[in-house]
Symmetry: C2
Subunit: 340 residues, 2 copies
């Protein structure tokens, strides 16, 4: 891959994405919509597929400001004929739609399997049949690593998923890798660490703990920390994640390769929560014992090793935690009514 990728900037993005026909599945969700905003800025022709699945991240307000510049198709990756239709003629697919709740996936595993395994076959079969040169960037999750003895995880670590969502995302990765190897599809896989930022749903905690804590702080509620709060995670701001997807979309041939996306630095949860309370100017921290169910599916400390994506795709996280938290808190203060 070209070294020029190491000096990516807005102009290069504009040159690459201007006029490109891009489909984003899950386009009204947290990551999908943030990506859409950036793509519109770079002049891409953006189509969003999102069914606004109940209790999930899709929110029509997420495309506030770009509504007239994008096409939104209300539908679902479970609908094979719709997926086939939408994939025709596109140049890039950011494949982000998913059932994304860890806890829901063990309570309603069938929904997870329908979306996260069969839905992915719908997409790959459509590309294979109708658009074999389509570039596909698949959104996976660091949750595929599950519990590991190691603390800093590179892409060669043995996956150990702890819930159906994580197991199915791993299956989705494998499908994308296999369609690259066997059928030559141009797929690339990003394993994202814990994201936070504007445009995430704020109605329940199961889709991203940091955003949930921001809500509690803004509502001046108690923020319950399990145990001593020293559990380490790798938190990355959503615009940085979106940037990783844009970089991945520029890679010449993805070959089904897998890349960690994280800030590469583990941060104890409690440190972040203290910052949130400080920036928001409200919220109270309370320590509680680990609930049994959470304990069972908690994946333990995690920091992403991001050497591979730095080297091969020229990406690293750039937004400092304080800045990301401030922007997020500001966004929700201004737009509370669309998310609460």
């Amino acid at each position: 891959m070209s070294n020029s990728l190491l000096t990516l900037n807005d102009d290069m993005m504009k040159n690459f994405y201007k006029g490109k026909k891009v489909l984003i599945t899950g386009g009204l969700g947290f990551l999908g919509s943030n990506l859409a905003h950036q793509l519109v800025k770079f002049g891409a022709k953006v189509t969003l597929l999102d069914c606004l699945l109940k209790s999930h991240g899709g929110n029509p307000f997420n495309i506030h400001g770009i509504k007239k510049e994008v096409e939104w198709v209300k539908g679902d990756i479970r609908n094979f004929s719709l997926v086939q239709k939408l994939i025709k003629g596109k140049e890039l697919l950011f494949n982000i739609a998913a059932q994304t709740s860890h806890t829901d996936s063990i309570v309603h595993p069938f929904l997870d399997v329908e979306i996260n395994t069969k839905g992915q076959i719908n997409i790959l079969e459509s590309a294979k049949a109708h658009n074999p040169f389509l570039k596909i960037v698949y959104c996976s999750t660091r949750a595929v690593y599950g519990v590991s003895k190691k603390k800093v995880l590179d892409e060669e670590i043995l996956p150990n998923p702890m819930d159906i969502y994580s197991a199915d995302k791993l299956a989705g990765e494998n499908y994308h890798r296999i369609y690259a190897k066997v059928f030559g599809l141009d797929t690339i896989i990003l394993r994202c660490a814990n994201g936070y930022g504007p445009r995430a749903q704020m109605l329940q905690p199961s889709f991203g703990i940091l955003n949930w804590f921001i809500r509690l702080a803004l509502d001046n509620q108690e923020i319950k920390i399990f145990g001593d709060g020293k559990q380490v995670r790798d938190y990355v701001y959503v615009s940085d994640i979106a940037q990783a997807f844009l970089n991945a979309g520029k890679v010449k041939q993805g070959e089904g390769n897998i890349y960690n996306v994280g800030c590469g630095k583990g941060i104890p949860l409690i440190e972040i929560v203290k910052k949130i309370v400080q920036i928001a100017g409200s919220g109270k921290i309370v320590y509680v014992p680990w609930p049994e169910t959470n304990k069972k599916i908690d994946v333990g400390d995690f920091t992403a090793n991001i050497d591979k994506i730095k080297k091969e795709i020229g990406w690293r996280a750039r937004v400092p935690l304080e800045e990301g938290l401030s922007q997020t808190i500001q966004f929700y203060k201004e737009n509370k009514k669309y998310y609460w």
Copy 2:
């Protein structure tokens, strides 16, 4: 786990399995039916679930000799209500039913996903709801390792599945592991190397190359060897595999643990084919270049490291290759009309 497992014999098997209510999914198939024969010998009450999926391994003749001693339900693990009904009141489940063709899985991936991912959730949800103390032995495959730089593979090697079948079997493994960790189900997972022996289907090569070569030899046909025939595999006789399942069924609490099942010795394909031709007294070996499609999904040399199953479950393969091949060839000579 008890050391007494290390000295398992027929009497101990009889003591354990006599009167036990056992369900075998895929019970009319290759491994399922061989297992059924052994279970009947040990006095178990055996129910077989098999839908005789077209072009797959199920064959009513496979239960010739035990037909009156087993109950066969013609049905499918895709049928959730049937699975729920059958799982009630059972003590053991040997979970073997699968779409098992590598090549079919990349041509018809939806069928594979329906059976090998959703079908497995049907089973685990049924056990969780209706029979949480059911012991479940899940049949997986060494194909989950796919292509690896190592030649001798233990259970800690990074899986690298090369087709949808292998990816979905890996998902099935993860489901069984997760239901053990999260819901306490008593599951155990066996990753089987290349099996051969009586009661395999003989109509096409995609379910087991050794049996297919035996057919070609018995028909005095050309046996096409890709490349130089030095590709190494770990071949294990089906009664040995069945024995591994019986041992696994006796383990006190499976905890979703994974065990390789193989003879632990890699053998070049060409050596075996020469033995087949010699024992059968017919067949001609022909060397041909690797076809493109096969090359793409071939997993390369493979030998199973079987230290873990030896140590923890007290199992190792006992039938020498010559004996296994002789028994297999004899079986098909006698029963050709039911398999050709």
